[in-house]
């Protein structure tokens, strides 16, 4: 198992895991603290990218004979792009209706 975790260049898989975890929790932190819709969207993208890194790393290090993980990452990138496009369209609509894209304005409905 120990040999599996280190590739020729000497970067262990755990290093990549650390990067993806940091990106993931940065995304979650950003989603909860940012007050602007665009920044929240960017935070969500960080979460999706963290998952993509995981897929690529797991595929490359743990299951090098297959290509499932890489494909999944590719599909996810495409789907995330669709999601971003729709989200930006909706944010533009919010901007037109409210005059800005701050979350604090979105409080017409409560209770």
């Amino acid at each position: 198992m120990g040999e599996l975790l280190i590739n020729n260049a000497g970067v262990p898989v755990l290093a990549y895991q650390l990067v993806s975890l940091i990106i993931f929790f940065a995304g979650i932190y950003g989603f909860f603290t940012r007050r602007n819709l665009m920044m929240m969207l960017i935070s969500v993208e960080l979460i999706l990218n963290a998952a993509d890194i995981n897929f690529a790393v797991f595929n490359r290090y743990l299951f090098p004979g297959e290509i499932d993980g890489m494909f999944f990452a590719l599909f996810t990138i495409a789907i995330a792009a669709c999601e971003t496009a729709v989200a930006i369209a909706i944010i533009i609509n919010v901007y037109r209706n409210f005059g800005n894209a701050e979350v604090d304005n979105l409080k017409k409905m409560k209770g």
Binding site: M40, A51, L62
Partner: protein, 474 residues
């Protein structure tokens, strides 16, 4: 097996895709005269699609196991079809008016696209197809929620929905990535055999389930529901609360059964607490709502808790009763939404106090609304009673007596707020009730269909037998 046979296995998707493409081309090519017939053509085509996919086929799989077909999927897909058809009937009058006239092509196209996504999600045998289906189901739904371009509430609801749904699918995806890392496969059949109690896998399992719980709107993940339901156009709200929720609940059940069978004890404990919180919080918040759409949002949260009662049993009876519950829930909820939609499009009113004295002016609509409320509350002769009874018996059979008692107590609490609507319509006095209005014939047909179903589905025992024959447990 030839390629053509592969396509035959997924024929429900292929025929739905044909309908979607035809409607898209029809909307683009047809002139002003042709567009007058757009909605009847769309509804009839979709009815045809429903009829052609009525009979279950033999179980099989396509594309190397990515797409899996089981006869029970035909049943749930037919239910989603029927629900969508009823919603189309109810939304025709919305798009006949001048205001929304130019948007009707988009409405049908987007609704059917989300339905296609749900189909894929239901039949997936691989995480990739599952994720694509999930996103195909939720991205067009966000555009539908933000459908009224100039309505502030709709824009707000759309923003809330797309951000939270993207957030939850991000967490779900992160969970899938760890499942892949620990098992080395993305096929459900291979992953399920390698599920063990390794900590990373349990974390992945929790992340994955949180994403799904968001779609079904169980309680810690329910915060988007009320705002989105209130802000979305009424026909989209009914779609969200019935089709989207029904398909998500079914997918949650099949995944827990097929994929996480080894975690039976873990997810039963998890669901145990979630059910208690979901039913109770849904009920308590529904008590204090004035807006009818918001009220039905919280009612649908607590109904999701009841659906989970069938899931937790993990047995054949559990799956049967969940499907039956969704079937009955479709008609009860859509009857209520049909009345709300008819009244909102004429008067713009959606608050419960506005419904005071409705019986004096619109006796038929009040009657349908009353039946819907009785069925949602589970009062004896109607279908809602039977479905609640069966789902309680499924949970009790596996020994969850405490859970059933809590659920029954909550049913009694829920009677209060369902009957509040009935009281407003029949007993309360109002000097200026909503004037008498005439619904268009399409909406009337949908209301008649729902009413008949509410009264008679509970009495027809063969439906339950039919579902039970195709169901499977862990």
């Amino acid at each position: 097996m030839s390629y053509f046979d592969n396509f035959l296995i997924m024929r429900s998707e292929v025929s739905l895709l044909t309908v979607i493409l035809f409607l898209l081309l029809f909307d683009i090519i047809a002139g002003k005269k042709g567009k007058k017939y757009f909605q009847p053509v769309a509804i009839l085509l979709f009815a045809l699609h429903t009829l052609t996919n009525l009979v279950p086929a033999v179980a099989g799989e396509a594309f190397g196991g990515m797409y899996q077909y089981h006869p029970v999927m035909t049943i749930i897909k037919t239910m989603l079809n029927v629900a969508t058809l009823i919603i189309f009937l109810q939304s025709k009058h919305v798009f006949d008016g001048n205001e929304m006239k130019n948007q009707r092509g988009e409405y049908y196209f987007l609704t059917l696209s989300t339905l296609l996504g749900m189909y894929l999600m239901i039949s997936s045998g691989h995480f990739l197809l599952f994720f694509i289906g999930l996103e195909t189901a939720s991205i067009p739904l966000a555009t539908l929620v933000a459908f009224s371009k100039h309505c502030k509430k709709s824009a707000e609801a759309g923003a809330k929905f797309i951000l939270l749904s993207a957030f939850s699918s991000g967490i779900l995806l992160f969970g899938i990535s760890y499942l892949y890392g620990t098992t080395g496969s993305l096929y459900f059949s291979e992953v399920s055999t390698q599920i063990s109690h390794n900590p990373l896998q349990i974390m992945a399992f929790i992340f994955f389930l949180s994403g799904l719980f968001f779609k079904v709107s169980f309680v810690p993940f329910h915060l988007w529901t009320a705002d989105v339901y209130e802000g979305a156009p009424t026909n989209v709200t009914s779609y969200l609360s019935v089709v989207s929720k029904g398909s998500a609940a079914f997918v949650l059940m099949t995944l827990l059964f097929k994929l996480f069978g080894n975690y039976l004890y873990e997810w039963q404990t998890l669901l145990f607490w979630i059910i208690i919180v979901t039913i109770t919080v849904g009920n308590l918040f529904a008590l204090r709502q004035q807006n009818l759409k918001r009220f039905l949002a919280f009612s649908s949260i607590s109904q999701a808790g009841y659906i989970a009662l069938g899931i937790i049993s993990g047995s054949v009876l559990g799956m049967t009763t969940v499907i039956y519950y969704i079937f009955v829930y479709i008609f009860s909820n859509l009857a209520a939404f049909g009345v709300i939609s008819a009244i909102e499009s004429r008067t713009g009113k959606t608050d419960i106090p506005d419904y005071k004295g409705l019986y004096q002016t619109n006796p038929k609509l009040s009657f349908v609304m009353m039946l819907a409320m009785f069925s949602l509350a589970g009062i004896a002769p109607f279908a809602g009673f039977m479905s609640k009874f069966f789902i309680f018996s499924a949970a009790a059979q596996q020994g969850f007596y405490l859970l059933v008692i809590i659920a029954v107590v909550n049913t009694i609490i829920s009677l209060y707020y369902y009957l509040r609507v009935v009281k407003a319509m029949f007993i309360d006095q109002n000097g200026q009730p909503i004037p008498a209005l005439r619904t268009d014939s399409w909406n009337r047909a949908s209301l008649i269909l729902c009413t008949t179903a509410i009264i008679f589905v509970g009495l027809l025992g063969f439906i339950l037998d039919m579902i039970e024959k195709q169901s499977f447990g862990i």
